[in-house]
Symmetry: D2
Subunit: 165 residues, 4 copies
Amino acid sequence: MTLVAVVYDSRSGLVETLAGAIVRGVEAAGARAERAPIYEVGPDVLRGCDGLIVGSPNWSGMTGALKEWFDYSGDLWQTGELAGKPGAAFTAGYSRSGGIEATLLQLLHLLLGHGMVVAGLPWSERMRRSGSYYGVTAHGAITEDDLLQASELGRRLARLAQVLA
Amino acid sequence: MTLVAVVYDSRSGLVETLAGAIVRGVEAAGARAERAPIYEVGPDVLRGCDGLIVGSPNWSGMTGALKEWFDYSGDLWQTGELAGKPGAAFTAGYSRSGGIEATLLQLLHLLLGHGMVVAGLPWSERMRRSGSYYGVTAHGAITEDDLLQASELGRRLARLAQVLA
Amino acid sequence: MTLVAVVYDSRSGLVETLAGAIVRGVEAAGARAERAPIYEVGPDVLRGCDGLIVGSPNWSGMTGALKEWFDYSGDLWQTGELAGKPGAAFTAGYSRSGGIEATLLQLLHLLLGHGMVVAGLPWSERMRRSGSYYGVTAHGAITEDDLLQASELGRRLARLAQVLA
Amino acid sequence: MTLVAVVYDSRSGLVETLAGAIVRGVEAAGARAERAPIYEVGPDVLRGCDGLIVGSPNWSGMTGALKEWFDYSGDLWQTGELAGKPGAAFTAGYSRSGGIEATLLQLLHLLLGHGMVVAGLPWSERMRRSGSYYGVTAHGAITEDDLLQASELGRRLARLAQVLA
């Protein structure tokens, strides 16, 4: 069964809540999801997955702890074990435009640095209030729109993983 | 008197309204502002200014028309006539995180490409609802917070221009 | 047969040369390529393709002319006709780090703004001299490495288009 | 005397060598420089400085260790102690366009997130081979051009710090 890893650092709980909604989207697509808070899993989770969705709070970019976890996840960027697999990103922060896109962009860069194929959210009226072409967002609190966008990204990534596997 | 040029492309009127608030901030700092919609001015406005604030709607990045205006604004990037002067950016769009930061970043890149010194907005509680470290924002409509942030950026840039002139 | 459109603005000829190598890579993968300098084609080329590779010289970001072409390519970003299809980017400029990545990033943003799935180049020793996680590059002149990376991106995108079609 | 802090993470020694050249530029401008490898200094170095230049190797973005150092540097982003001061960035990596600009952009984002005024390098023929509008670069090894650009950025930042102090 296609496996999508949802790897994240969460501090206030917002990112974790988004991760839950993403997992539901992955499962709705008929794939298996592995929730992986960076404090509970090792880099092996990256080796085994068919797709990867990475999340971080907006701390003027991703947290140092998340980046450090990736910095010591082995030589995957070099060996290309993730290359060609689909990846996506999610974040939550206090402000609407105070680094939300920048944080997602840093996460996408990390995925592209592993040679991954990257997807965000497509346009819909819902994006006026939640979500980005770069991935899933939340501003200060988790709204119903945020959960729907998160579930949509999970579904989207799972389908890509199924096709590309 | 220190002169700050406020150059922009506006389509729906949101960017133009922000430009007006920026101009008031520039003037509140005791500097002179020159409003310059790209359809009414030539590149000479760039040569004469002590500081520059550039605005565009979020059309998945700045508009082609604004970029074209800069593409044919002479060899300023090469001659360095703007180098060392302060610059800033503003944008307005329909969505909160659907390219607002990306558009500001493109504008800042253009300013850095001229060797300019770049400023955005500093953190304040207001940034939860409006504004970015990259500049002034509006999401769908202009709010009182947006106008205050716009005025603040105008004031900030004018003071930088006064000191650096 | 799977069709990949290679849409670009070229001024000095470098981007055009890269486009040629990309086309060869697309064809080597058994797909059909449509070369489309923006001065010779209309936005219909976007509607008909299964994958899209966009190129621009580094003019402190993509050229205004290329952005304008996309600004008036219809409501594809809204109707989602390109959503889910694979996209990639290429650029050429005079300097190594004077906006090459920034230009590719602007092009990728445009593709993500259409809901596309985005791919760059995976790591290889060759990337030390040519290419980026964001796409194909050239610095001042076209080298053999640049042509190989361009061909590789064409092949990579064509295969994605074949699988996702 | 105006004080510029040069804060960095260095692994292979390239970033450290660039830091040395930046320090010489700062001193050539008549300012004082404080070299601060993150493993030897605490966040107090940020509180005391009039200007800040931050460096990291290109590890598909800045290192997690450097980001972590900033993540726990106190509430400076909130209290605004760095707001209005000038900042700049430098990096070194193995490839020309494999994340060099992206790493600099992450560093600039961090500085803008503290409300700082940001400067890179202005255009010169030298930028064809070294340096970026986003800051100082090195690709694989340190060249004479890299050292000259590093020294130039140190000088530039020191002068800004002197005027803005």
